[in-house]
Amino acid sequence: MSNSFKLNNNTTFREMYLSYFPKLVHFSKAHILSQIDAENIVQDVFVYLWENKEVLNSVKNLNAFLFTMVKNRCIDYLRSKTQASGRKYSITDVQEKEFELKLYALQRFDENSFSHEEIESIISNALETLPPRCREIFILSRMEGLKHKDIAQRLNISTNTIEGHISTALKKLREVLKEYI
């Protein structure tokens, strides 16, 4: 298959794609807020890499490299959203301010300072220490992407309760991730 060509670190393009594409989309969406645009940005990055495979040969830290490429494109995206001339559709003042804040946070995000294995194990260890209900709700919301009202229906509880549990989980994560944020 054509996407199975080997990269210098002996993984194939396909393996790289399958392991990074979702992470990069989630990363992008956390800042630009649109799932479709996030997928398009990340897809564009992989199209570029496919056509310029030789770029990957000199990359030492693939993780940081990919996150930097996506981050830069997201920054461009947010800049165009916060400049009236770059927008196709008008947005409200609140939306514009939200994009400005996301841009501000993204510019300060340091993609070179973390490894995924590390973060994933910190997060899963932290989730283990949460009360079972709290953990269950957080996983349904953030890992399985369910909406609050769907979780409310499924577990037969109020959305306020859900918000409370998610806040608790986020507070816990903030505590364990304090050196990475």
Binding site: S2, N3, R14, Y17, L18, F21, P22, K23, H26, F27, K29, A30, H31, E39, Q43, F46, V47, W50, E51, T92, D93, V94, K97, E98, L101, K102, Y104, A105, R108, F109, F114, H116, I119, E120, I123, S124, R142, M143, E144, G145, H148, T159, E163, I166, S167, L170, K171, L173, R174, L177, Y180, I181
Partner: protein, 350 residues
């Protein structure tokens, strides 16, 4: 200021944000901030939070910290990821394929002043290989309009100059598993070197196989005339109905042409410039040979009344984008013949 806003909202009775209105400001904003990251802020609450964030640097630092917590926990693999990611990698392949064709369009548009027909033929036949894997073979076809010369770069960086009315076809496997192109017409090739994957020009009767070289091929399917001339490197030419060991090998500045029966090797007289700059120059060329080219390039037929004209020799040059009338007028100046263009693209020479 913030307190005022808050009390005016709760005082107005329409948007009750929090029950404990006597909590300090920072606490209210921290709560709003956390609520924002649990995706449960109303637009009104967002407006209040964002306004405060604009003027409050320490709250902005908090925003960044919560954003990073959210980002890091979002980046971990989700259960449903494996379901959609394989669809996305198929989509990627399609995008890459389409872009290749678009790039081809761009390079064509750059060198040819007129529209070129590039057609992609999909053969989504049910070709099952091994474990029922469906292979879709896609072809790119380039047709050069009458009077035009086209320059293209193939996916392996090989450069090709194509003559008037030539057709070139290659599949989406080109430069992946093979380097085979089909040519009906005339082309000058500057082939990029790849000893593992020979470059093969497949014509009506003969195939030409090279690894990296410069050569010309003249092989219009509607004419029995075939010739190839080597400028650099080495090529082998073989009848595509015969085994490859019957091939004729050429050294630089040698050529072969078909005399009606077999291939004859000779010193090459080929000048590659006419394909590259569109100017065709010829020296002491019998009208017989010139006629072959003009007929194929301009899609016309000559009707020659006086047999001896065929042997007349001509020298000169013309721009291939000129129309045939202008070219014949120039040749006529030598005083050796007259011509008349008939309606059905036939030209009487007398």
């Amino acid at each position: 200021m913030l307190k005022n806003k808050f009390s005016s909202l709760s005082g107005g009775g329409k948007a009750i944000l929090f029950r404990h209105t006597n909590e300090p400001q920072w606490n209210l904003m921290d709560k709003l901030l956390l609520k924002y990251f649990t995706d449960s802020l109303s637009d009104e609450e967002k407006a209040i939070l964002f306004q405060e964030l604009e003027s409050n640097p320490s709250l902005r630092e908090e925003f960044i910290k919560w954003q990073n917590v959210t980002t890091l926990s979002d980046v971990t693999i989700k259960k449903s990821d494996s379901q959609w990611v394989s669809g996305k990698i198929d989509e990627l392949e399609n995008i890459v394929q389409k872009r290749k064709i678009n790039r081809l369009f761009i390079s064509l548009a750059k060198y040819a002043a007129v529209a070129i027909l590039v057609s992609c033929v999909w053969f989504v036949g049910n070709l099952y290989i091994g474990k029922h894997k469906e292979i879709a073979q896609e072809f790119t076809m380039i047709e050069v309009p009458k009077g035009q010369t086209v320059y293209i770069t193939l996916p392996d960086e090989t450069k090709v100059w194509l003559s008037s009315r030539s057709k070139l076809k290659f599949s989406n496997q080109f430069n992946k598993s093979e380097r085979i192109i089909e040519l009906d017409g005339e082309g000058f090739f500057s082939v990029s070197k790849n000893t593992d994957m020979p470059f093969i020009v497949d014509t009506k009767t003969y195939d030409i196989k090279v690894t990296g070289t410069q050569f010309n091929v003249f092989a219009y399917s509607e004419s029995s005339h075939f010739e190839t001339d080597l400028v650099e490197g080495s090529v082998s030419v073989y009848n595509n109905g015969l085994p490859e060991d019957k091939a004729i090998r050429l050294q630089p500045n040698e050529g072969v042409s078909f005399d009606g029966e077999k291939l004859i090797k000779s010193r090459s007289t080929f000048v590659s410039t006419h394909l590259i700059d569109g100017i065709y120059s010829f020296e002491n060329m019998p009208f017989r040979d010139l006629q072959k080219r003009l007929e194929l390039w301009y899609n016309i037929r000559f009707n020659i009344e006086k047999e001896e004209i065929l042997a007349y020799k001509f020298s000169g040059k013309f721009n291939k984008s000129d129309d045939i009338e202008r070219i014949l007028n120039a040749i006529k100046e030598t005083g050796k013949f007259n011509f008349r263009i008939e309606e059905d693209a036939t030209i009487d020479i007398y």
